[in-house]
């Protein structure tokens, strides 16, 4: 069964990507996780995302398209990346979610994918 793991971080977490003191550990941690998940044969696909200040949102209001700078919601936690994995149960998906390298404000949302037809 496929699950999507949505990795959320706070601004502090995103900042570690650029910060000399933390970036090596940040990226090595991510790369190690990707290697592990691949080696286990459960990875369908994944993507790292640029921080929310590079986001653009498209919405519809009164029949008109609106394009605006920024993520859809101004919240502390923003999506930083996602993985789609294929595992036997939610418990296994949660294990993988818990294995993601810890960083400030980390929340991993796990959601089952709709079955493809």
């Amino acid at each position: 069964m496929k699950y999507t793991l949505m990795i959320h971080e706070t601004a502090e977490g995103f900042a570690q990507r650029e910060d000399a003191a933390h970036q090596k550990a940040y990226w090595e941690g991510t790369m190690a996780y990707v290697e592990a998940i691949r080696a286990a044969g459960v990875l369908v696909t994944g993507a790292g995302l640029m921080p929310p200040d590079r986001a653009t949102s498209v919405s519809w209001r009164d029949g008109k398209r609106h394009v605006q700078d920024g993520p859809f919601a101004e919240s502390r936690h923003q999506l930083g990346g996602l993985f789609i994995i294929d595992v036997e149960s939610l418990d296994v998906a949660l294990e993988w979610a818990a294995r993601f390298p810890r960083r400030p404000g980390l929340i991993v949302e796990v959601r089952p994918n709709l079955a493809a037809d």
Partner: protein
């Protein structure tokens, strides 16, 4: 090659800076890197040209040096940029040869600055910085912010352009009307900052004239320039010899610049041939009716009524709704004008000086001197211009006197 003197070099820089930056930015996608590289190239130029003289094609010289610096800088990038997008500076992108004119990419740059994915509060300052080469410290006061806050906002916008890879093209026909409107609104956004920062209106006119050069067949482009020229035509009359504010109805038409008004009307006539009305053509046409007072001695309120109705149907901005309310006094009387003001949402108008000024004027006409006085004071509270504030305070005093 003449020995380069500083005045000559400065003139070359001023003339070419925007075009050079646009060329480098359009090919790399990275405005910030282009600004850094060009800045360094200009320093090199000053050193080299002072002694060795100004080269035959100074712009090609600057482009070559700046481009080389950009390529070198990219090669030195650190770990994090390995995860970032690749540069578009391609070894194969050649600098135009000696003598050849290099293309003007500033129009593309204007569309990028006003792209919907760019924070709307960054668009106007970004245009001023990258197309006109203005210093952030000079721009910031116009937007009621500090230089460092504005600098950060602009860096964010430029990073977004680079990293999200905003397209560097003049939009396709289907998107053009909406995208062009955003560009013109951003230019107009500079004009309205004149109260906070003198000189902004002139920068807006410069950008509007450039747009008219680049897109002479677009009626809204001509409409915006016509609007700005009409406003400029009345500039001298808007201040008396002591620098005090003079409102439109009290201005002496003999002080208006007839040449500018004629130029503006000429542009409107050309625009009208396209039969594609728009916000700026309508706003300019309204100003054109006011300008006719110079010739006829009166204002054609019926024409103004028609124009505002057209404008507000599609572009009901706060400023236009309040201006229409003011005109309604002459079209339908004070009660109708008051009703129009009353239809505006309180939170939208609370800090908007023109609302309070029009309300005060109408309250005076209705004999409500105490309310008028309070409204004049509110208008004074909300205005950025010292001379306008003085005029408003004087009206408040007059209302107070009439009360007794």
């Amino acid at each position: 090659m003449a020995q380069g003197d500083d005045a000559q070099i400065e003139a070359i820089v001023r003339r070419s800076r925007g075009r050079l930056l646009a060329w480098l930015a359009a090919r790399s996608g990275d405005i910030g890197a282009a600004q850094d590289a060009l800045g360094d190239a200009l320093i090199d130029a000053l050193e080299s040209w002072r002694s060795a003289g100004i080269p035959e094609n100074p712009e090609a010289w600057l482009l070559t040096v700046a481009r080389r610096r950009m390529i070198d800088a990219h090669r030195r990038t650190s770990v994090r940029q390995a995860f970032a997008t690749r540069t578009l500076v391609d070894e194969a992108t050649s600098v135009p040869e000696e003598g050849a004119e290099f293309p003007d990419d500033r129009l593309r740059l204007m569309f990028v600055c006003a792209h919907p994915a760019i924070d709307s509060s960054a668009r106007t300052p970004l245009m001023l910085q990258v197309v006109l080469g203005l210093e952030v410290a000079r721009i910031a006061p116009a937007f009621a912010t500090t230089a460092s806050t504005l600098a950060q906002r602009l860096v964010r916008a430029k990073n977004k352009i680079r990293d999200a890879r905003i397209a560097w093209s003049v939009p396709a026909l289907a998107e053009l009307p909406e995208r062009l409107e955003a560009v013109l609104e951003a230019i107009y956004g500079a004009y309205v900052c004149e109260e906070r920062c003198a000189g902004m209106a002139e920068h807006a006119r410069t950008l509007a004239r450039l747009m008219a050069d680049w897109m002479p067949e677009e009626p809204e482009v001509l409409g915006l320039l016509a609007l700005l020229l009409h406003c400029e035509a009345r500039h001298a009359a808007g201040e008396d010899h002591l620098g005090r504010f003079v409102p439109l109805f009290a201005q002496d038409p003999a002080q208006w610049d007839a040449g500018l008004q004629q130029e503006a009307d000429g542009l409107l006539a050309v625009a009208a041939r396209e039969q594609r009305p728009g916000r700026f053509q309508l706003e300019a046409a309204i100003q054109s009716v006011h300008a006719r007072r110079r010739i006829s001695g009166r204002i054609d309120w019926s024409a103004i009524d028609t124009l505002y109705q057209g404008l507000l149907q599609s572009w009901p901005t706060l400023g236009a709704r309040i201006a229409y309310a003011a005109a309604l006094e002459h079209i339908s009387g004070v009660p109708a004008a008051m009703r129009a003001l009353g239809s505006l949402a309180a939170q939208d108008v609370r800090d908007f000086a023109p609302y309070w000024a029009v309300l005060a004027h109408l309250q005076e006409k209705a004999g409500e001197q105490d309310k008028a006085r309070a409204s004049w004071l509110e208008a004074a509270r909300c205005t950025d211009s010292a001379s306008t504030r003085q005029w408003l305070m004087a009206r408040a005093v007059q209302s107070g006197d009439r009360q007794r």
